[in-house]
């Protein structure tokens, strides 16, 4: 008898949860359908704000990182700073509106756009096919690739003809790990869970090289004497671009034309020199920056 009661309760609970789940899924479907057909003028309805509506409102909401130095961070006076923020401020200025920065996390960037809680995401957002199905990307403003750093007395310039006794350090779960496992299955990898442990091991000489995002290895080589980046671009070259809510063409097209115009004054090189040069030096400026939305 008691068992039966418990079973009933469970059934009710499961049904309740399923309903919640279905409502959530159902609404997300209808949401995307709506923004395809309707103009999606009402921010409160979970869709986006058009360019004119943002202008009328006088404030643009831009999602940035608040703890990713030097791309988006908050300085000791509580002001947002960084490469992405520098661009965001310029966007708002040229649009003639105030900017409201929203602190986003890597895991909630898409959700913020889909619910219209921000107009643009400028949070070091790498363009991928999966993401492009959820949000609309504008023209890119930065390159990312993998890089390999090694000791100055034994510079690794190529991963071909690898000596099997040597290993490469990677951080678990990064694109570097995936890429090397897929493309160079013969190279032994030493995997670490965190940046700190990988750094410690590399400096103690347990491996000849360390593969990571090229921005990370460039910064490492610059801060630590005796190391040099032998391979600064490995694997697929990805780009970083502003993203808007799916279907928000008026805003995306305006950002695209803005990026093209800014290219004429070399805006992103200036941005790099203001915000990234301390971390990455001047050697990689041209390979990291994308000017005017044009990648080679």
């Amino acid at each position: 008898m008691k068992n039966l009661k418990i079973k009933k309760l469970l059934a009710v609970a499961v049904a309740g949860i399923l309903t919640v789940g279905l409502v959530a899924c159902g609404s997300s479907n209808s949401d995307s359908a709506k923004s395809d057909t309707a103009s999606g003028s009402d921010a409160a309805s979970g869709s986006y704000r058009t360019l004119d509506e943002i202008k009328e409102d006088g404030t643009i909401n831009i999602g940035v990182f608040s703890d990713k130095n030097p791309f988006g961070y908050v300085d000791e006076n509580g002001e947002y700073q960084g490469y992405d923020v520098y661009f965001a401020n310029r966007l708002a200025k040229d649009l003639g509106v105030k900017v409201n920065f929203v602190s986003t996390e890597a895991a909630n960037r898409i959700e913020y756009l889909q619910t219209g809680k921000v107009d643009v995401i400028l949070a070091n957002f790498t363009v991928t096919e999966e993401r492009a199905q959820e949000v609309d990307f504008a023209l890119p403003y930065m390159n990312v690739a993998l890089g390999v750093v090694s000791r100055e007395d034994n510079v690794i310039k190529s991963l071909d003809n690898w000596n099997k006794d040597d290993s490469i350090i990677v951080i678990s779960g990064t694109t570097a790990e995936t890429y090397l496992t897929e493309n160079y299955p013969d190279i032994p990898l030493q995997k670490f869970d965190s940046y700190a442990t990988a750094k410690e091991a590399f400096q103690n000489g347990t491996s000849v090289a360390w593969a990571n995002d090229n921005t990370e290895v460039i910064a490492f080589a610059l801060q630590n004497k005796g190391y040099t980046v032998g391979i600064s671009e490995l694997g697929n070259k990805d780009t970083i671009a502003p993203a808007v809510t799916k279907g928000n063409d008026s805003l995306r097209e305006w950002i695209n034309s803005e990026i093209e115009t800014l290219g004429q004054e070399n805006f992103f090189h200036k941005d790099y020199e203001e915000t990234l040069v301390d971390t990455y030096g001047t050697d990689y400026e041209d390979s990291l920056v994308v000017e005017g939305g044009k990648t080679e």
Partner: protein, 226 residues
């Protein structure tokens, strides 16, 4: 001396920012606690009602809140209400809603547990002494219930304060987020700052939760003698 990088907290207005982050966390938890404690008592009382429909409704509510991680609840309330209903709640309001839903459910269950843990003979003895039902509750049952509830609800309150660290996922900049911002902004100049800053964060959380525990201990003692 070991460099903990605490000095980063004295740059600019960093310490003030950390404290205002603490205030944001306090505001959210205080408002939620003040709403969910009385609501929880009510829900707890309703849970002991013999009516099966009422019982099942509250049981389902409690189980859903308990099964869902708070982070999922925050996402559902903050982003889900915008998608499904078109509400544009601020991060703070969404957090308070989630914490009230959660606090009420947990508090309700604690009250229910405390109420049914009062032995039957307490009711019967009161009846034998000629007390009315009202007097029984006021003088016999409720004081004993409260005594049993204090350690449990203090545990819940401190848990609610500490769980505010999750609200950074819906864009609310509270103490932990400010701490991360300070550490990251100084990543190059003082790489050890994480130790120092999190040490201060630990001390601040402790300073907030400890007086609450002390109060609970005091009340427990006081009512034990009475």
């Amino acid at each position: 001396m070991l460099d903990l990088g605490i000095d980063v907290l004295f740059k600019g207005s960093n310490m003030l920012r950390l404290l205002s982050g603490l205030w944001v966390a306090m505001k959210i938890s205080l408002v939620s606690i003040l709403i969910s404690l009385p609501l929880g008592v009510l829900v707890g009382a309703l849970m002991t009602v013999k009516n099966r429909v009422v019982k099942v409704i509250f049981r389902v509510y409690l189980e859903i809140i308990r099964i869902m991680p708070q982070l999922v609840l925050l996402f559902i309330v903050y982003f889900g209400t915008t998608r499904a209903l078109g509400w544009n709640l601020s991060g703070e309001v969404a957090s308070v809603i989630v914490f009230v839903l959660w606090g009420t459910a947990e508090m309700g269950d604690l009250v229910r547990g405390a109420l049914i843990s009062i032995p039957k003979h307490q009711f019967e003895s009161s009846e034998a002494l000629g007390l009315t039902k009202r007097q029984t509750y006021i003088y016999i049952i409720i004081p004993q219930t409260i005594q049993r509830l204090i350690p449990l609800s203090i545990n819940l309150i401190t848990r609610m304060i500490k769980t505010t660290s999750l609200v950074l996922m819906i864009g609310v900049v509270e103490m932990l987020k400010v701490a991360q911002q300070i550490i990251e902004a100084n990543r190059m100049t003082s790489p050890n700052a994480a130790f120092g800053v999190f040490l201060i964060v630990f001390i601040l959380y402790f300073l907030v939760c400890w007086p609450i525990s002390m109060l609970a201990r005091y009340l427990e003692k006081k009512w034990n003698i009475a």
